[in-house]
Amino acid sequence: MNAIAVNVEDKLFQNRYRVDAGRPHIKIKSADVCTNICVSKSCTYVCPASCYKTEGNGSVTLITDGCLECGSCRIICSDHANVDWEYPRGGHGILFKFG
């Protein structure tokens, strides 16, 4: 299959969120594990909201504002268990209008 360029931000833009500013509900436990130990960095392409990005130096950044709370990143990081995953505080995060 030929990969096509998709801007996921355009999709997320349609969604309703109540962001818990300054309190991300998911955290990378050790940046070093992403940069130096994890080879696949599968979170960077499996996350359906594209919250994880690889940087030039091989590190991985996480911005949870667009998170759809699916749980995939936690499960696929089973080799390193490097994702600290919680649901957002009550009432925060994604608010589906249709679901």
């Binding site: 299959m1 990969a3 096509i4 998709v6 996921v8 999709k11 997320l12 349609q14 969604n15 109540r18 696949s40 599968s42 392409y45 499996v46 359906p48 909201a49 594209s50 759809l68 709370e69 699916c70 749980g71 995939s72 936690r74 499960i75 696929i76 089973s78 995953w85 919680e86 649901y87 957002p88 505080r89 009550g90 009432g91 995060g93 994604i94 608010l95 589906f96 209008k97 249709f98 679901g99």
Partner: protein
């Protein structure tokens, strides 16, 4: 440590399993507290979504009077797609167009809100915008929940976990381990709005009737999974879900949104959704491990219902009905245990498992127990077979001066080349055994 219990039961989550459970208990007079992290019930929930009437009917017989239903299904299509075509079956019957209808499309954000209003009418207390962080234990016994609010500890004689597929609470309490990526599918979907009459014309349906399309083939990029397209009243739901382990291992590093976008552009699908205005993009996991992946579902002071216990029949795309049925059976167990007055120890709650085993839930999951393994070991069901079938059909139907016999030979040569005939027979047998 033991505080006086304020409630007979706390239900965590207001999806179909939690609502069915809280409703049934409250109706029987139990003091029920239900806690939901969303702004309102449904605001965190995602589904295809087909509602199977039967499971809900057993809880609320007259639900059709005011439940927010989109369309009843009169036609089901099953498509196999290659790059440029599809071959499929359409099953349409006027019998499906006569009340009481068997299946409906719904929008979960609206449906869950409605179901929850019934739960409150039945007498349960609902608190939204509150995430349960931990279970409170007294030794082996679950005695309450710790919420993310000031003074957020609440006590009850029993806690029912209806917290969905991620089930953070059961994991933290050590009731079971982490979900395996091979036992769960990641689905993404969009809702596309368009005028009602466009939908009616495109799908050849009336004001209230609807069509569902299930798809396998090229659209999953070699991964084990399926696509779906459902008609709502004024919108179309389109989505695709594949095993999370396959997403992770995909050599093309295909993104879920890339997959969905590619699917929407398939020449067989694009005309059906053309002009649709995208209003929401969702993602959610589906526990598809089946029978062998079901964890321990009861213990001292706790029971697990719905997706949290892995109660999904992936072969038939059923989940919400299993969720409602497990919720109801857990509630009936709690009601009987309370009436017996012996408390909510594991021994008393073990009836829940017995009730489940006797129901369609466990019988169906047992029947298909080998299906996930068969499909996982045989990815050709999602790749070369749909290709072969689509190409074969196209070859036979194309009128180009080549005689049919020659075409047949070419098709069989292609079949054999793609997959040795013995393999083909073996696969047919494996599939037959798994679904028989």
């Amino acid at each position: 440590m033991k505080k006086p219990s304020q409630f007979d039961a706390i239900v965590v989550g207001a999806g179909p399993s939690g609502n069915a459970c809280a409703y049934t208990m409250a109706k029987a007079g139990l003091k029920v507290l239900q806690i939901e992290r969303g702004e309102y019930p449904g605001s965190k929930n995602v589904q295809g979504a087909i509602l199977y009437a039967k499971a809900l009917e057993e809880i609320i017989p007259d639900f059709r009077e005011d439940a927010p239903l989109e369309r009843h299904i009169i036609e089901q299509r099953m498509w196999m797609l290659d790059e440029s075509s599809f071959v499929g079956t359409h099953i349409r019957s006027e019998e499906y167009n006569k009340p009481p209808y068997n299946r409906y499309t719904i929008l979960r954000a609206q449906f869950d809100k409605w179901f929850s209003s019934k739960v409150r009418e039945a007498g349960a207390l609902l608190i939204c915008e509150t995430t349960v962080d931990h279970l409170i234990m007294d030794g082996e016994q679950v005695v309450g929940v710790q919420c993310d609010r000031l003074n957020g500890d609440v006590y009850a004689d029993m806690v029912i976990l209806a917290d969905g597929v991620n089930s953070t609470l059961a994991r933290k309490a050590g009731f079971h381990g982490e979900i395996e990526a091979g036992n769960v599918a990641l689905a993404v979907k969009e809702i596309l709005f368009m005028p009602e009459d466009v939908i009616r014309q495109r799908f050849n349906i009336g004001e209230e009737s609807g069509v569902v399309i299930e798809m396998v083939g090229r659209i999953t990029d070699g991964m084990m999974g399926t696509g779906f397209l459902y008609t709502n009243k004024e919108s179309i739901t389109i989505g695709v879900g594949c095993m999370l382990a396959d997403f992770k291992a995909n050599p093309n590093k295909t993104t879920p949104y890339g997959l969905l976008e590619q699917m929407k552009r398939h020449p067989s699908i694009a005309p059906l959704i053309e002009g649709g205005e995208m209003k929401e993009y969702c993602a959610h996991l589906i526990p598809e491990g089946g029978f062998h992946a079901i964890p321990q579902i009861y213990g001292n002071g706790w029971m697990i219902v719905g997706d949290s216990g892995g109660f999904v029949n992936a072969v038939h795309r059923e989940g919400s009905n299993l969720a409602m049925t497990t919720g109801r059976l857990a509630a009936e167990t709690a009601i009987a245990a309370k009436a017996a007055g012996k408390g909510f120890k594991a021994a008393a709650l073990s009836d829940y498992k017995k009730k489940l085993d006797a129901s369609f839930v466990m019988k169906d999951l047992y029947k298909y127990r080998d299906m996930p393994a068969v499909l996982h070991k045989n990815p050709q069901f999602f790749t070369s077979y749909p290709d072969m079938v689509a190409q074969a059909a196209r070859t036979m139907i194309t009128v180009d001066g080549v005689d049919k016999k020659t075409k047949e030979r070419a098709i069989f040569a292609n079949f054999r080349q793609t997959r040795k005939l013995t393999g083909l027979m073996g696969d047919a047998y494996k599939l037959w055994k798994a679904i028989r």
